[in-house]
């Protein structure tokens, strides 16, 4: 594009998983969340970006990687376990080829998955040497993406705000860990669940963060009327830019009922051979005696009933291209209209959970790639951008204080604070209060190495307990027992260590064990609570 575009489209992919590493077991069901996301989302996105960069297709988007996910990506034990998991998947595809040898279409699908896992293995083992942060860093350096971070363990900041030090510890630890891995400070931040409250921007500004994202009503209900709605950012009084989500462009993508992912041609998420096939056959490939998804799914959505037709990858690919065209046509029309009534170039911000692309919507990465290619070659009205680039080009925006909000159920906090989950917050409050007392009473001046280790481990346990994922899971009744267990484990580990510090009797074996189980953020510092 040789002239200034009329407007911009900013994709923001937020990649996050809670910390689900369990070295105390050989295999653990919840670690598969991480493995599935690597296979179905992170590696397909890496492959997509690789193709775009290799072919010099103009591409710019924002990728947020949460520190807890990044810590799992960097963890050698999980890297090793994922490799073993992939090898198992490849073995399963071999068995499937044999099992389906007399059914041409299902054999073709089994071969499709063999190829799919084999390419995934090649990217993970040969190209990345197990280190998924490396390609993301490379894409950032060549300008195809802008990498940003999130708070340390995805703590929902407005619900932690009664204790400002807890909020600051989440933000600073997240930024520091991101910098320790990628070598640069993140210019933007993904506030967990797009959870904003007035005042958080002061900490962000102090830490050099230039922008964040909020739900559309966070901008629309701001202290001053936003003249351009969510199509330009709102500067908070501190000077940090708040970008509002464009509902129109996102619902079309994330909604299984009204959006693209529910089309009958796309792959059916809920039909997996791990659930369908005979138990004895599938047992070596699932988690102990618990049936789980294997990632091999032979059917397409077909329709709202239980009857499912076989999946046709090429038909689905064509559908993804058609949906990409439809999406882009709407955005171009929208930008044409916005540009005609605005004094500055509009930006349509389309944030998504990264795991939507590939994991929940299998063809999502293909769709995204088509949108990028069509934006580059099929029109000249809008341009893909990153938010840093947009702010560089367009540095003047209206000021106002956004409204406290999230992008969750009903737009506020009831998805995380309700009758099922309200027992969590007093625990977190007590831990943060005690952390402050420990840091003040036992952490000042020169202290013994073992005390320092114990204080830092207390900090890790507190951060891990604060993850917004636990109340979210409990509220949605999915892996409820696991989430409850995680909160209670981290809280009890915190208090065990706090008691040990206060009594001056820190058992090295116990401390070492807890450090090895919850080994997130090697450089974390309790001093943030002083």
């Amino acid at each position: 594009m040789t002239t200034m575009p009329k407007g911009y489209l900013a994709f923001v992919l937020h990649a996050h998983l809670p910390y689900v590493r369990h070295p105390e077991y050989d295999e653990f069901l919840e670690e598969r969340w991480f493995f599935e996301a690597i296979t179905e989302t992170y590696i397909p996105i890496i492959q997509m970006l690789n193709r775009l960069v290799q072919e010099q297709v103009s591409c710019k988007m924002t990728v947020s990687i949460s520190p807890s996910l990044l810590a799992m990506m960097e963890d050698p034990l999980l890297q090793e376990r994922y490799k073993a998991h992939l090898e198992k998947s490849l073995t399963l595809t071999e068995r499937e080829l044999e099992r389906n040898q007399h059914d041409p279409h299902f054999r073709y699908l089994a071969d499709y998955y063999r190829q799919y896992f084999s390419e995934t293995y090649d990217v993970f083992v040969n190209q990345c040497q197990g280190k998924l942060s490396a390609p993301f860093k490379m894409f950032h350096e060549c300008g195809a993406i802008e990498l940003i971070t999130c708070t340390a363990t995805h703590g929902l900041l407005p619900l932690l705000s009664p204790q400002p030090k807890a909020v600051e510890a989440q933000i600073v630890t997240g930024l520091d860990y991101f910098e320790s891995v990628f070598g640069f400070r993140s210019k933007g931040i993904w506030l967990p669940e797009c959870g904003y409250y007035a005042g958080v921007e002061d900490i962000l500004w102090k830490e050099g963060v230039r922008f964040f994202f909020i739900e559309s009503h966070g901008v629309e209900h701001a202290s001053t009327m936003p003249f351009y709605s969510v199509y330009t950012p709102l500067y908070t009084p501190a000077g940090v830019a708040a970008f509002g989500r464009d509902q129109g462009s996102t619902k079309q993508v994330w909604s299984a009922q009204e959006g693209f992912p529910g089309h009958p041609d796309y792959r059916e998420f809920y039909r997996d051979i791990g659930q369908d096939l005979e138990f004895d056959y599938i047992k070596p490939f699932i988690c102990g005696d618990i049936r789980v998804d294997t990632g091999i799914k032979y059917h397409r959505i077909t329709g709202p009933t239980g009857w499912k037709e076989p999946y046709h990858p090429e038909v689905a690919r064509e559908r993804a291209a058609q949906h990409a065209d439809e999406f882009l046509t709407h955005r171009v029309g929208h930008v044409e209209h916005l540009a005609s009534v605005m004094e500055t170039a509009p930006v349509i911000v389309a944030p998504f959970d990264a795991e939507l692309f590939g994991h929940w919507w299998f063809e999502g990465p293909q769709w995204l790639e088509y949108v990028v290619r069509k934006t580059a070659f099929d029109q000249d009205t809008l341009e893909l951008t990153t938010l840093s680039d947009y702010l560089e080009r367009h540095p003047v925006h209206q000021t106002g204080t956004p409204c406290s909000s999230t992008w969750g159920y009903k737009g506020y906090f009831e998805g995380w604070l309700n009758g099922k989950t309200d027992w969590i917050y007093p625990q977190l409050h007590e831990c943060a209060h005690r952390m402050e007392a420990l840091a003040t009473n036992y952490g000042k001046g020169r202290i013994k190495e073992v005390t320092k280790r114990a204080l830092n481990q207390c900090m890790r346990e507190l951060l891990l307990a604060q993850s917004s994922d636990w109340p979210f899971i409990i509220n949605n009744d999915t892996s409820t027992q696991y989430a409850i267990r995680k909160v209670k484990d981290h809280v009890s580990r915190f208090h065990y260590l706090a008691n040990a510090i206060e009594s001056g009797q820190i058992d090295d074996e116990y401390l070492t064990t807890l450090e090895q189980i919850d080994n997130i953020f090697p450089d974390v510092t309790y001093r943030l609570f002083q």
């Binding site: 040789t2 002239t3 070295p23 105390e24 050989d26 010099q56 050698p76 034990l77 350096e141 060549c142 300008g143 195809a144 009664p162 007035a198 500004w205 230039r210 629309e220 209900h221 202290s223 001053t224 009327m225 003249f227 500067y235 000077g239 830019a241 004094e343 500055t344 702010l391 560089e392 080009r393 540095p395 003047v396 925006h397 209206q398 000021t399 409204c403 406290s404 009903k410 737009g411 506020y412 906090f413 604070l417 309700n418 309200d422 917050y425 007093p426 409050h429 007590e430 005690r434 007392a437 209670k488 484990d489 009890s492 580990r493 008691n499 074996e509 070492t512 064990t513 090895q516 189980i517």
Partner: protein
């Protein structure tokens, strides 16, 4: 797996599980402080959770006989626009509670106001004493504010400079000034970074190659292009091969950094490199800045050694040439024989190699 199996960390897995289970007994916990915390669930609904120690409660009752049998209450104050001192709230309401620890959900009397909570004892005659005070929480409006204000900010760089702008509708003026100052507003439909290392420092561009490059730049301007030339002197005396290669490598990195700085302010559309010694800059620009690469190969190393056995320095130069032409979107060569070599020896697709005679150095051919 063996029971004795150790995690990578050195402690056996079964021991880790034992310790984990044992430490897990530290739940539930004893609270160490009196507190009450206030949160907004949505603009209409608030939530407080609190804890009081029995000792604190007993002490308060002992201090004041009138509170000996008083019930616990959560008191919610409207403290909008005031610095709350305990007495200056606009209004408050009480809710009786019965436990030393607990949760209480309440409907907010008015939206768009700031609230504050206390937990304390309230006697029948209205005497009240609090045990813990919460944070202040603003309960949002659930609709647009209706407040129109055109105030804006100019924020440049990573919070480098910021200043107030009275009218946000002037944004385009500020953008224009900002772009002009940054040199972004010139009409350059095709900004090209042209790289030519190895020019003689004594004569600079006053060589046949220098003239050629200058002419290419002039011609491109006529077609709406703009060439930014990056050149640097590198001593090509063949005495010390290793030193020379290192020098080219180091110079390439320096020139690339210059190119990157210019590119950041005014993005190039492509990078055009001349011959092997400029190719490292082009490769860096292609990889790190995602720029399309064009390589002009005025001759190949095979041509320069004229059929002699290729080894040592020449072999390395061949490798560099090959890497450059294979990474390039377009390879320009002056004659068919060079084109053949690029295709056959360097295995470059014939569609990407074009012959453009070095005639631009002679103005008479190009009028």
């Amino acid at each position: 797996m063996s029971k004795k199996k150790q995690a990578k960390t050195g402690i056996a897995q079964d021991r880790m599980r034992e310790i984990s289970w044992e430490v897990g007994q530290f739940y539930p916990i004893n609270y160490t402080a009196d507190y009450i915390a206030l949160s907004m669930i949505n603009p209409q609904q608030g939530h407080v959770h609190w804890n009081l120690r029995q000792d604190s409660l007993t002490a308060l009752k002992a201090e004041n006989d009138q509170l000996a049998f008083a019930p616990l209450v959560v008191r919610i104050y409207d403290v909008s626009d005031v610095i709350f001192d305990g007495f200056n709230a606009h209004s408050f309401f009480d809710a009786e509670v019965h436990n030393l620890s607990g949760n209480y959900y309440f409907q907010v009397p008015q939206l768009g106001r700031s609230y504050h909570a206390e937990i304390g004892l309230r006697a029948d005659d209205g005497i009240y004493a609090y045990l813990a005070r919460s944070n202040t929480m603003f309960f949002e409006r659930d609709r647009p504010s209706g407040d129109y204000d055109t105030s804006a900010l100019f924020v440049e760089g990573t919070l480098g400079q910021s200043f107030q702008v009275e009218n946000m509708f002037d944004a385009s003026v500020y953008e224009h000034i900002n772009r002009a100052l940054a040199g972004l507003d010139r009409h350059n439909p095709l900004p090209v970074a042209m790289v030519c290392l190895g020019l003689d420092p004594q004569v600079g561009l006053d060589t046949p190659l220098g003239h050629f490059i200058q002419n290419v730049a002039t011609r491109l301007e006529k077609f709406g292009g703009h060439v930014e030339l990056f050149h640097a002197d590198v001593d090509f005396s063949p005495a010390e091969h290793e030193t020379m290669i290192k020098r080219v490598d180091a110079t390439s990195k320096t020139v690339f950094e210059k190119l990157r700085v210019v590119h950041k302010k005014k993005p190039f559309h492509l990078v055009h490199c001349h011959d092997w010694y400029s190719s490292r800059v082009g490769l860096l620009a292609a990889r790190k800045l995602n720029l399309p690469l064009v390589v002009s190969l005025h001759s190949t190393e095979y041509e320069r050694v004229q059929g002699y056995h290729i080894e040592g320095l020449s072999a390395l130069i061949c490798e560099w040439e090959q890497e450059a032409v294979r990474s390039a979107q377009l390879v320009m060569v002056p004659r068919e024989s060079t084109r053949d070599q690029v295709i056959k020896l360097y295995k470059v697709s014939s569609e990407r190699v074009v012959v453009i005679p070095d005639v631009l150095s002679d103005e008479s051919h190009t009028r």
